[in-house]
């Protein structure tokens, strides 16, 4: 039914240009696999355990993501074939990792934020394959695979031991509730990717994408700086307790922060760098002078450069170091594992900027690769039609379970409230679409907003607004 993606005329000869990336990615994957294998052999222990399998999944997802993006840039159809094979291999490894954990724990992996991410990545990969094979939206992997990679990297940093279930979680409703949540969230993620593609296909101005990318990245930096910038240019990060493999706590729920000197200024610089394109965009709009847009497009390179520097500096300085804390005497060790969300934010920023570059350079080719705008619009709507009942079921199952555990089906806990808000946003989307006939851009904005709320409900609430729903 869907219009199959057409192969676009190539400016570069496909034979040589086509194989270069394949060889590069193939070599990269092989290199990483061999080093991982050697490392595992040296360390001894079983080869097929969960973390090794997950690492394999990460490597193949990253390779697939690179190839999908390469397909987006060059339009070589071979890439997408290899990419979907890589996705399938990564998915297999991911499935085995889930199965291994399930077997070890004797229960489905739904009990902590780590396990939730494991299931989420699995569902996203599955839906990516389905969307690609069934609806012919080949390019979808270039958005969902980087998302999967960020999630797997986050998972490497989160505490991953199989912890026994606390009494409140020992219920069949856990499985019902979390399965529904994962399915609906993954469907929302796919609808988001489709809505973005619709905007590309619908000749949404490239500059506006630039402004949005720049806005998103600088919002990440502003959020980090607002919460973590310390006096004299330091950046505070959570101290890491290597013995307990957890964040270090001063008291109940109060984390111990240490200050990494000078890193704060670097973040401010990168934040300003990320903001530059947005500033030039506004100047161009106000002055009605499009030459500023060219400057804005150049500024994004400075932004990416600064972001990569910040990322490298953050990794180098926070990984296995010790810093003083303003709250308590002595030096305390730090680890990347204690700041998964800063790292996740930085990586997401770089990936978002890269995706924009892909769009900037190969917009016309990309548009040729996508199914028609109508199809994308319709498939977005269909995905939300799948997500919404699942979301409803998730909330109902959660309420029923809460009623058996906490004694009340609705306690206005932040997680509950935000789940309700997500539901209302998608309900708004459906009303506007069905009764007001909203199609196209306005519907796409709504789908994007909806996914933003989903991400906040899933991750933001867990870390910013703790409540009863403390497990994940």
């Amino acid at each position: 039914m869907a219009t199959r993606a057409r192969v676009v005329k190539m400016e570069t000869p496909a034979a040589t240009g086509g194989n270069a990336l394949l060889i590069l990615v193939g070599l990269g994957v092989a290199f990483l696999l061999i080093t991982a294998l050697l490392g595992a052999a040296k360390a001894g222990g079983p080869l097929f355990n969960e973390s090794n399998l997950l690492y394999v999944a990460l490597i193949f997802y990253a390779g697939a993501g690179a190839l999908y993006m390469g397909f987006g840039v060059t339009g070589v159809p071979k890439y997408v074939k290899v990419a979907s094979v890589a996705t399938a291999i990564g998915f297999t490894a991911n499935t085995l990792a889930v199965a291994h954990r399930w077997y070890l724990a004797g229960r489905p992996p739904f009990a902590s934020i780590y396990e939730m991410l494991l299931s989420f990545v699995w569902t996203v990969a599955a839906l990516t394959l389905v969307t690609e094979k069934k609806f012919g939206v080949k390019i979808i992997g270039s958005i969902t695979m980087p998302l999967a990679v960020v999630c797997v990297i986050l998972m490497q940093l989160l505490p991953s031991e199989v912890r026994p279930l606390v009494p409140a979680l020992q219920s069949t409703w856990l499985h019902v509730h979390v399965t529904l949540a994962m399915l609906s969230y993954a469907a929302c993620a796919v609808s988001f990717a489709l809505a973005m593609m619709f905007l590309i296909k619908d000749h949404f101005p490239t500059e506006t994408f630039l402004a949005l990318t720049s806005g998103l990245v600088s919002a990440i930096y502003i959020a980090i700086i607002a919460t973590r910038f310390e006096k004299w240019g330091g950046l505070s990060v959570t101290a890491w307790d290597a013995k307990d493999k957890s964040d270090m706590f001063l008291g109940r729920g109060v984390r111990l922060f240490v200050t990494v000197p000078d890193l704060g200024w670097l973040f401010v610089m990168a934040g300003l760098g990320a903001l530059l394109p947005l500033v030039f965009y506004f100047v161009a709009r106000v002055q009605r002078n499009d030459s500023y847009l060219g400057i804005a497009n150049k500024a994004i390179f400075i932004g990416i450069l600064l972001q990569v520097i910040v990322l490298a500096a953050f990794v180098l300085r926070v990984r296995d170091a010790s810093y003083a804390s303003p709250f308590q005497e002595g030096l305390y060790p730090t680890s990347l594992a204690a700041s998964p969300f800063i790292l996740g934010g930085l990586v997401s920023g770089v990936i978002a900027s890269m995706l924009y570059l892909m769009l900037l350079w190969r917009r016309t080719d990309l548009e040729g690769l996508l199914p028609s705008a109508d199809t994308l619009d319709r498939v977005t709507y269909k995905t939300i039609c799948i997500a919404f009942p699942l979301l409803t079921g998730m909330i109902a199952a959660g309420a029923y379970w809460a009623n058996r555990t906490w004694g009340s089906y609705w306690s206005w806990d932040p997680k509950e409230t935000w789940a309700a808000i997500t539901w209302l946003v998608y309900a708004g989307y459906l009303h506007m679409r069905i009764t007001r006939g909203w199609r196209g851009r306005r519907a796409a904005y709504f789908a994007i907003l909806g996914f933003g709320v989903v991400i906040f409900t899933f991750l933001g609430v867990t870390y910013l607004l703790p409540g009863l729903h403390a497990y994940a």
Binding site: P167, S171, T392, N403, R404, G407, T417, I421, T435
Partner: protein
């Protein structure tokens, strides 16, 4: 424009029955709920935490605007009420049309409808009765229900599936109202509270969140309670053996765990917490007289225990965690890791009382005044309590009914497509006889188009088969006699 008094209710009705108003109200609900998650809420936050987070001035203003308890503030409830009202009014406005559509389906096509319909096909036929019969056979094969509409001169076929799907949206909105109704009933008539019981204790007074007390018409006894741990020491299970006692009789008993409450007359008792009361349940000591064998005795606080006809011992004081300053013993904490026990030994013949101290963390033997007995520490048992969350939610059944209804409604609304087919034999613009086939679906049009094409193909095959079979050999079907041939 002058506003007459009678028009005001009309205007209010018009405003509320507007979908745009509904969406604005939903946006307001979203903003209000989000605010309620960002500002610390009084019912779930300690007073200390609140005063730590906000300065007194800010807190006063937050309280004044009722932002510290958004979800129970009158304006939030009013907002939810307006949303419900808006749903009701919008539904009432739209329902009659939908009902007409549902109750009296559009079966007969007219030329205007035929020309404006998107999905349609015209097949050439030689005889209208034959054409319709062929169509009927094809539809039967594809399992479509068939209605023959005879209207004077013209006969046509009408077929539809899943008409109920057009009413699903009302089911969904009604289910939402049902859930709201359940919530309102619980808000008005429901209550919840906390009941703390020690082993063997019976209680019937629960403490609500606001600190008020509520007396239950029956008592709840806790026979036993306990905790099981995983190998790593983290809690695996909390349980309590409970019984409901009414008029001195035990009427119900159950061992509850976290996730599995006891239910009695609409009141549910949940395992919420378990822990030490800080009180001592019993102290086991070895009491040895100056001559003779010792024996193990269990002492309870302030209960004299007779060691021999002349001597009795009382556990007069228990300090869970002590420290010494100026030769006085003080309590440091409630954590029973460094306990101190004061024993009083009474000699009835001399009337003398001896005071002894027992510090098990330092030495098993008691020290102090001479009493004729030596005491050695053996064991101590702390008292445990089980914390029960009690709740009465008479409206919850409405909520669950609403949830199930909503599930059904959503399924029907999203996954059942109302599909209609009209088939009629008539002359086209040039006067040639054709079989006009039109179809419509209320959603998922691309999938419907496939089905429509299947139907058209089926009819085409049937028509071809009919034309190849010799006329004489054709069996005359009974329906044929009913058809008024044009």
């Amino acid at each position: 424009m002058a506003l007459s008094l009678s028009s005001i209710p009309k205007r209010i009705h018009k405003t509320l029955a507007n979908l745009r108003t509904g969406v604005v109200l939903l946006i307001l609900v979203v903003i209000a709920s989000a605010t309620g998650t960002f500002i610390l809420q009084r019912p779930v936050t300690d007073a200390d935490r609140l005063s730590q987070a906000y300065s007194p001035n800010v807190l006063r203003w937050l309280d004044r605007f009722m932002l510290t308890d958004v979800f129970h503030a009158w304006w939030f409830l009013a907002l939810l009420g307006l949303v419900s009202l808006s749903i009701v009014l919008v539904s009432i406005d739209r329902f009659p049309n939908a009902w007409r559509f549902y109750a009296r389906p559009y079966r007969k096509t007219d030329s205007h409808f035929r020309s404006s319909l998107q999905t349609k096909v015209e097949l050439p036929i030689t005889n209208s009765a034959e054409g319709l019969n062929a169509a009927e056979r094809a539809l039967k094969k594809l399992c479509w229900p068939i209605e023959r509409i005879a209207d004077g001169k013209q006969t046509s076929l009408y077929s539809e599936r899943h008409r109920v799907s057009v009413m699903a949206v009302y089911v969904i909105h009604a289910s939402l109202l049902l859930i709201f109704a359940g919530g309102i009933i619980d808000g008005l008539f429901g209550y919840s509270g906390y009941l703390m019981l020690q082993k063997g204790q019976t209680g019937n007074i629960i403490e609500t969140r606001t600190g008020a007390k509520k007396i239950l018409p029956f008592g709840v006894t806790c026979y036993e309670a306990g905790q099981e741990n995983y190998a790593d020491g983290s809690p695996k299970k909390w349980w309590s053996k409970l019984a409901v006692v009414q008029d001195g009789k035990e009427v119900q008993a159950k061992e509850i765990v976290v996730n599995d409450p006891l239910v009695y007359h609409g009141l549910r008792f949940y395992q919420a917490s378990y822990g030490m009361t800080g009180n001592l349940d019993g102290l086991e000591v070895m009491a040895t007289p100056e001559s003779g064998a010792g024996r193990e005795v269990t002492l309870r606080i302030n209960e004299p225990f007779e060691l021999d006809p002349n001597t009795s011992v009382t556990l007069a004081e228990f300090i869970p965690d002590f420290f010494v300053r100026d030769k006085q013993i003080f309590k440091r904490s409630d954590n029973p890791e460094n306990p101190a026990f004061r024993l009083q030994v009474m000699n009835k013949t001399t009337g003398k009382e001896a005071k002894l101290w027992l510090f098990p963390a330092y030495s098993d033997a008691a020290q102090g005044q001479k009493s004729g007995y030596g005491f050695a520490f053996r064991n101590m048992q702390m008292g445990y309590f089980t914390g029960l969350e009690v709740s009465h939610e008479p409206g919850q059944w409405l909520v669950w009914a609403g949830c199930i209804l909503m599930g059904v409604g959503l399924f029907v609304a999203f996954y059942m497509v109302h599909m209609r087919l009209w088939i009629v034999a008539l002359p086209d613009a040039k006067g040639k006889l054709i079989l006009w086939i039109g179809g419509q679906a209320n959603k998922n049009e691309d999938r419907f188009e496939e089905k429509f094409n299947d139907v058209v193909e089926g009819i085409r095959t049937e028509l071809e088969r009919a034309s190849t079979v010799p006329r004489a050999a054709r069996k005359i079907e009974p329906e044929l006699t009913l058809v008024a041939v044009k």
